[in-house]
Symmetry: C2
Subunit: 339 residues, 2 copies
Amino acid sequence: MEANQKQTIYDIAKAAGVSASTVGAALNGSWKSRRISKNTVNRIVEIAEEVGYTVNLQARALRSAKTGLFGMILPQHDNRFFSSIGQCFSNETRTRQALPVIVSTRRDRDQEVQAVRGLIDYSVDALMLVGTSNPDELGEICREANLPHVFVDQPCEGAPSVVSDNKEGARKLTYALLDQCEKNAVRDIMFLGGNAALHATDLRIQGFREALLQHDQIAMDEQIVACGYGRAPTRDALAKLYQSRKGLPSALFINSIGCFEGALEFLTGLPAEEVDACSIGCFDYDPFGSLLRHPIPMVRQRADELVRRAYQHLDENDTEPRMTLIEPELILPRVINAL
Amino acid sequence: MEANQKQTIYDIAKAAGVSASTVGAALNGSWKSRRISKNTVNRIVEIAEEVGYTVNLQARALRSAKTGLFGMILPQHDNRFFSSIGQCFSNETRTRQALPVIVSTRRDRDQEVQAVRGLIDYSVDALMLVGTSNPDELGEICREANLPHVFVDQPCEGAPSVVSDNKEGARKLTYALLDQCEKNAVRDIMFLGGNAALHATDLRIQGFREALLQHDQIAMDEQIVACGYGRAPTRDALAKLYQSRKGLPSALFINSIGCFEGALEFLTGLPAEEVDACSIGCFDYDPFGSLLRHPIPMVRQRADELVRRAYQHLDENDTEPRMTLIEPELILPRVINAL
DNA sequence: AGATTTTGCACCATCGATAGTGCACCTTTA
DNA sequence: TAAAGGTGCACTATCGATGGTGCAAAATCT
């Protein structure tokens, strides 16, 4: 019954006794403007369905220089924030009748470059670059290839970028933590995790410092431990910290959810009283974090807004290197009775 | 300096004073077998780099009937398990020099069908279907299109499938929960969450029942509340349950992480003693879950293994409808002091 | 030196869809 | 009734890369 080989418009043309271009027009909707009679169209569509015809988008793309592929470079899928970005991107892209191609590159420069080149080879119609480690180089590659692109989360000098207002978020979180502290312990807050070389971490540290300044404190360099985004390194960094200062600080600003997990790994090994005495906040959101017995204020980045605005730049054919800031929200801990 | 338009092999051919087919061969590596001199190749490669040439994979795909695109249908990105599957798929696909195309379809039949058809239109070389709500129909579509495919997590009657050993996992988790219970409370364990119509939930319920049987218990239908995979519905189902029976059961088998979050939302509103008295386990893994003060045994599905075996089926050109079971691991709670 | 082999490349059809152009045939209008 | 316009479609070039085939020129052999 079913044709085994993939059917083309030529096969259908033969079956219908018309020309291939007529079949093409009938099937892609351009038949009205090409003055193909409704009868012929019906006949063709019927045959097409019968033999299970599907367009070859490669051929279409080759001819029309539009692939309907939208690319995204993402550090990783298995991360609350990034997967949420991926989800929004996927939704948004599919409502546009296009296909999302998400490539994860582990924040690795070589992988990023390779992935961008790969996507260019596939002639993606546009590219969203999220949290890349090397924005300027990647932006340059896109520009050379004449590929519309936007940066998200980590901005680029030479292209439109949409990022969370990291400084403001950090300020809010720091205030929340300081509020929980005793007056005399204010100087004892620490910033843990992230990569100081990255834009996001840098701004969060700035926000942290500024918030301290509001409390007439100047943050010392020792108060800032940017040990990377890794789980284990953060655990170890915190352990070392604990050892060297013989105890926890009075407050901990933890940069990103991965770091938070690492910190928890260490903290859960400590006596409850010690942990209870330490105010902990995290710049990133995870529902579980907010369900811990220990109250954890968290900052949630608005993935949906980030993606929406990024797409807006693409829609508007914007190539100006302007930066759009999206304010993240501070999620205060609920009052928890159990667990 | 840089060419603005996308360069083709014809442009380079003109620049190098050779034919297009020579350029093609020089650039795609087939020049050895085509007896193009090393000198000519070097000259061509140099020009290509100079003008920033990149292949048009659409054209190549059209000609060679291989796109280098590998598709995946995924219920959602923003979920620990699925995002982890996505990550593994992405890694594995990229080591094969191919491009992963992951489409999320929210377990929605129409979206799934549409996505599969879309991927067929793009001529993906193979397709992995994860946790689909309608495997048989989708399998049929793939078969008609002559598209190599494998099902993951949710099996299909007519195609190779790789799934976690849900029954065994559920048995192990149930045993772990029963071990925590008092002898007399064994009959009081409940199964919460999931969709009984889906293969995975069905088998987990079977495992749950079997484990109870080992304890000489027959699970009553009221002990099984398959309220779906949603967070809010699970919270509400648990709340209702609590009301109607005036308290928590002695043990709770929670099916999937989303349900677990929903349950937590309710549980955190209860007095600590009540929650403490209830053994809680979750069929799914989240590091935060294992960091709660309340000990939570969890079942972790091996995303890497699932994807690895799925790819193996594709590599072996396997179309037999055989099912590969991957044993999930039971993760026992750590001894937690704090939080 | 002439015959034979090898080297190095050009030429051309092809993959499947799209869109410009042309041309019968039919209908309307003067 | 002839001119003018409309309708319905076929023909053909094209997108960029690939691979089979053919043919000179150079290299090797007799």
